[in-house]
Amino acid sequence: MPPLLNLFAARTAASTVRISAAPRRSVLAGASKSHSALSQRRWNSSGSDGKKEAEEAQRAATSMPHVSEEAAEVSRIMEKEKRCDGVPATPELEQGTMVSEILSRDKEAAKHAPKVFQDQIRKAQSGSRSFSTSARRGQLEEQKPSGGVPAGSKADDAAHAAFVQSMITQVTEDAAAAKQELAPGLKFPAPETLPRTENYRSRYEPLLEQFTKLIMRDGKLGIAEKNMYAVLDHLRTSPPPNINPRRPLLTDLPAPQLPLNPVKYLTIIVDSVAPLIKNKPMKGLVGGGASVPVPVPLVERQRRRAAIKWIIDASDKRRDTKFAQRLANELVAVAEGRGGVWDKRDLVYKVGIQGRALLGQKPKTRVIRM
């Protein structure tokens, strides 16, 4: 048996205490066993025999019983084990009731229940989880030997919670005091943390800067900025988009609120059509020297770049007089789910899905022997 974590100790115990009428080997029982074994394998950090047991369980799951055996089982369920009124047996009758249910009904039995159960019930009543969602605590637990249940963990929890609580109250009190009284030597309260755009080096939003530089031609940034300004003004004044439910924008904001903040609107449009992957042609994965596209994940800036490029290319096909007008119209079209940009992304995803079988393979290189 591999060493058990406290979380699974309770669960496995519950499954073993399950009252069964007769220990028969059935299809269902086999499946459930393999399932629990699998879950154990997944959760165990280490263990020399864990792997072996998992393999065993796998074999048990894959080797189905003989056809006649299965038929006999089915007929037994449906016909033989009927109650006196002829209704087929329920799983409850056949497999028994969960101990926890019995214990919740019967207070007397709960007193004599195993300690694990009692702990569990008490924890459920106290309202706190039996496990922690805090990353820091998880790390601390990992450092401990993964042997048995940590003794006195509840007392530790309480102490820790109290400590955190006191820390929070301390900080809030300090903040309130600082708000009322200025630090010595200050005439005005210290400014809040400045937004990123207040620094002159990064005065524009990252997306805005990236977009502007991608519409720049011949190094003329001023003209690109002028065009960007015209685009933003168009987004601000054009009617709010009718969003296509098949191609929704990645935002919770209702459509009429989008034009009031054109930079956000632009960001949402670009992020909504941005592809998550690109398909990189790789040679040597299949025979014959053919190159096949293999999906490669992109970071945010690369994703946006791909989307902006598509949008600019699509806007070149429009027939409006000015570039800014063409671009702005294309952006609104994308927001409304029209235009070829969405199709381009769909195509990328389709090719990516086809190519994902080849993920992780290494190209076969021919070894030249001298």
Partner: protein, 504 residues
């Protein structure tokens, strides 16, 4: 001729210089019995690869690369006038912007209400057509991002409102007062918008409003011109521009002009009938640009009349005050782009329309400029690249000095520099003299600067309440932006207000 070396022993055979010979490694090794350099063989014409390397004697050779054809532009240029229409388009409403609650309109009461100082006042919707007709809105102003056009009631606006009230009101101080003012100031300080506010007040008070929205257009040689008459060949009339001015005036002042009737004799105009309205009179000039200047003179005579001509008394009603606004006065202070018969540049003051409006500005005439009262507001402009005219700058400096209390004899009073080649016509046209009429004051000069902190706060709150500025407006924040805007220059404040910042 004797050979220089002995054929028997070859002792004096000079070796070929090393530089002419190829290095042994670079030369392909041929048969070893040649005494000449091997690589010359490859360069002989007609011998394969190296043939092209030698330029032929007296043959044209083309060293440059073959030029590729330029890709043919497939898209057609946009239709004529479309780009200009986009450039000049004026949008006055943004349906996406929020409606500001409790917004008050500019009216007779609000324009003099000092409690509303620093708040935004909406322009009444029926008046927008009038303001559009007189081209009060400029394309580079930020009307297009708000729900409806509004202006800030600043200190200068309130002063103007009180003057309008004084001229048109029915209090004891009522009288045909005339205000003559040149408005100047730094770029984006709100000069044109102040003119717009004056026009709006004029429409509210039922004045007659004449505007020159772009002074430059009269002198930039973009419309037709002709000598005025045989007698005055050095004066030039611009018929198209005058007709356009009449058209603007008729459309914007229809309500006022349609109630006034012709009460003077106009022998030069045969089409004028005695009972005609002034609207009909002005329309004569719009329909026939050739007579536009005569019609304009007749209309001006009618509006400045204080009494009817004999025999036409029944048609006379008291004439309303007149507001004249000119935007971009600096362009009128130098030579125009028009040419005379000797191909010399025509001075702007020789164009009769310009001359007319400048003569109004000059105080000290025998006749009062506007006998029925009114205002002459002439603003300078910085957006249209105005010419730098020393005489005009000097006049503005003198006006400022006079306002500061310096007399002409004072040594600190600004004087023209020696050898500055000053334009005497400009100096003469605007030099202020003592007015002969009690209700007419000297030519004033107003320098428009930044708005105050309170006005800036009102402006920023208007942005925030329209949903365009997503910030918390506090005194500190406004003060910070006021400083950033060059001390409250309102155009810069607007730029800050529409600057976009995505909240994290």
């Amino acid at each position: 001729m004797v050979s220089p070396f002995c054929w028997g022993c070859l002792t004096r055979l000079r070796p070929t210089p090393r530089t002419l010979l190829p290095s042994p490694s670079s030369v392909s090794r041929g048969p070893a019995f040649h005494t000449s350099a091997v690589f010359h063989a490859g360069l002989r014409p007609g011998s394969g690869r190296g043939a092209t390397a030698v330029s032929k004697f007296r043959q044209p050779s083309n060293a440059s690369m073959k030029k590729r054809k330029k890709p043919v532009e497939k898209s057609r240029p946009p239709p004529v006038g479309e780009r200009k229409a986009i450039r000049k388009r004026i949008v006055l409403s943004n349906p996406n912007a929020l409606e500001v609650e409790g917004l008050q309109e500019l009216s007779e009461e609000t324009m003099v209400d000092s409690r509303l100082h620093g708040t935004a006042l909406a322009l009444p919707v029926p008046m927008l057509d009038q303001l559009r007709a007189v081209q009060a809105f400029k394309p580079n102003q930020g009307w297009s991002i708000f729900r409806r056009p509004c202006t800030i009631l600043r200190q200068e606006t309130l002063q103007l409102g009180r003057f309008f009230d004084k001229v048109s009101g029915d209090g004891e101080h009522k009288g045909p007062f005339v205000k003559k003012k040149i408005i100047s100031g730094p770029s984006k300080s709100g000069k044109s918008v102040l003119l717009l506010q004056a026009m709006a007040m004029g429409f509210i008070k039922k004045w007659v409003v004449f505007t020159i929205p772009e002074a430059q257009e009269l002198v930039s040689a973009t419309s037709s011109y002709a000598p005025l008459s045989e007698e005055q060949p050095h004066l030039y009339v611009q018929n198209e521009a005058t007709a356009a001015l009449l058209s603007r005036t008729v459309v914007a002042n229809k309500a006022v002009l349609s109630k006034l009737r012709v009460s003077q004799d106009h022998p030069a105009l045969s089409a004028v009938t005695p009972g005609m309205t002034l609207e009909g009179l002005a329309n004569l000039g719009v329909q026939d640009p050739a007579s536009a200047w005569t019609v304009f003179q007749a209309l001006w005579g009618e509006l400045t009349a204080t009494a009817a001509a004999p025999g036409l008394e029944k048609n006379f009603t008291p004439r309303p005050p007149i507001l004249v606004t000119v935007d971009g006065l600096g362009h009128w202070m130098t030579e125009s782009k028009y040419r005379d018969a000797e191909f010399k540049l025509v001075h702007s003051h020789d164009l009769v329309l310009v001359r007319h409006f400048l003569r109004l500005l000059k105080p000290g005439g025998d006749q009062p400029a506007l006998p029925n009262g009114g205002a002459l507001l002439y603003a300078t402009s910085t957006t249209m690249n105005p010419p730098s005219v020393y005489a005009f700058d000097l006049i503005l400096k003198r006006a400022a000095a006079r306002a500061a209390g310096f007399k002409f004899n004072d040594p600190r009073f600004p004087r023209a520099e020696a050898y500055s080649n000053i334009d005497p016509r400009v100096l003469e046209a605007l030099t202020s003299q003592k007015s002969k009429h009690a209700q007419e004051k000297k030519l004033g000069h107003q320098v428009l600067g930044g708005v105050t902190h309170d006005e800036a706060r009102g402006f920023m709150e208007y942005f925030a309440r329209s949903g365009l500025l997503q910030e918390t407006i506090s005194d500190e924040w406004v003060s910070e932006k006021w400083t950033l805007a060059g001390g409250g220059v309102i155009g810069e404040l607007e730029r800050i207000g529409r600057r976009l910042r995505v909240a994290a």
